[in-house]
Amino acid sequence: MKALIDPMDLSAQQVEEILDLADRIIADPKAYAHKCDGKKLATLFYEPSTRTRLSFESAMLELGGSVIGFASADSSSASKGESVADTIRVIGCYADIAAIRHPKEGAALVAAQNASIPVINAGDGGHQHPTQTLTDLLTIRSLKGRLHSLTLGLCGDLTFGRTVHSLIRAMMRYENIRFVLISPRELKIPDYIREEMVAKQIPFQEAERLEDVIGDLDILYMTRVQRERFFNEEDYIRLRDSYILDMPKMEMAKPDMIVLHPLPRVNEISVEVDKDPRACYFKQVLYGKYVRMALMLKMLEVEGC
């Protein structure tokens, strides 16, 4: 695999292989502690993203490799006007694999087209973020024991949330999946995703109030509703509380439902929910590191992985 730009670049089988490897790493991390000895990861972060960058870096360090890179465009040659294509050509002389995050959509593809080393898209603007999708899949499979026969609720900003779109597309591949899409009218799922679900005969339900549907869910995937997305203040005030997960809403949920969130959280999940064993968003971060370890081992074609 030379590059991972879009989560759908991976076949269902490739996803399974990555998740299986992640499971083996979780079971015996010591066995993988030197798999990347002498290898270097370059983290090319043209915009700050502490969690994603540190997840990639800690993943490589735990595999015995080392890390080079930059954490913002200001500290890179981009500030001198260097193109993404030139930067990746140069980085290819120093590192064995690169993870790139860029505010512009398609930047990771440009990097991959010009790279001599494997390139991972670590987020290109509002476009794709494949390692978040892999993180979500590993978390769901680990905590629910399966990727099929699940009712998945996605709540919040479903119009602009790229993680939501990628997760829906990735989960559509599995049997007996039902989606419950919870959002204000202004932030509904884009038509092309809805058309895709209709074409593939995937059952889904749209709802405006989390309280009305939370009891049906096996998984609740929360995202942030941003004030600036609303056309008027009245609607925002009317709807905002419906998209804040608190203990009274959790009481309506199944005892084995899990709550996920791509983070950062602002106020859409009350801190009181953190103590509930069903709140799994911090575990999700840990699964993110393991799945990135597995992905890099696969992309570097490390023997025995």
Binding site: V84, A85, E105, G106, L109, V110, D124, H127
Partner: protein, 145 residues
């Protein structure tokens, strides 16, 4: 009825949607040609009521992919010796390069101007209005809209 001299040799781009001929003129860079070019707007059409037609004298080489991208219903008649020697029917090309620019301000091509502007045809999307998407950011470009 307006009369334009018939061609001895050249191309007749027919069945252009009424009012779209100038768009085609620009896409094909016909302003760069030295030969005669006639643009006929709102000609009578049995099928659609009105249509545009472009006649190009002495040139047989135009980018059919560009025409297929703009409107695959257009037909191109090749004229030689004063008669039609070939009728070309267009298909939508799978990819067009440097024909249209991506208008998404968040696309990498908005800041890296030297990148080729690539649009790919998305199979099965858009129904009657096939959709092209930017190869970088997947922004939709629908020529018929």
């Amino acid at each position: 009825m307006l009369n334009i001299d018939s061609l001895e040799r050249g191309l007749v781009i027919d069945h252009i949607e009424a009012g779209k001929s100038m768009e085609i003129y620009k896409f094909l860079n016909l302003d760069k040609l030295d030969c005669s070019v006639a643009i006929i707007k709102n000609a009578r059409s049995k099928k659609t009521g009105k249509k545009d037609i472009i006649k190009i004298e002495d040139t047989l080489d135009i980018d059919l992919d560009v025409l297929g991208f703009v409107d695959p219903n257009i037909t191109v008649n090749v004229i030689d010796g004063g008669r039609i020697v070939e009728k070309k029917h267009l298909t939508m090309p799978k990819q067009v390069v440097n024909v249209v620019r991506c208008k998404n301000p968040r696309c990498i091509t908005s800041i890296e101007q030297e990148l080729p502007q690539v649009f790919n045809l998305v199979e099965g999307a858009g129904g009657d209005h096939p959709v092209y998407r930017c190869a970088y950011c997947e922004q939709e470009y629908s020529p018929k809209k």
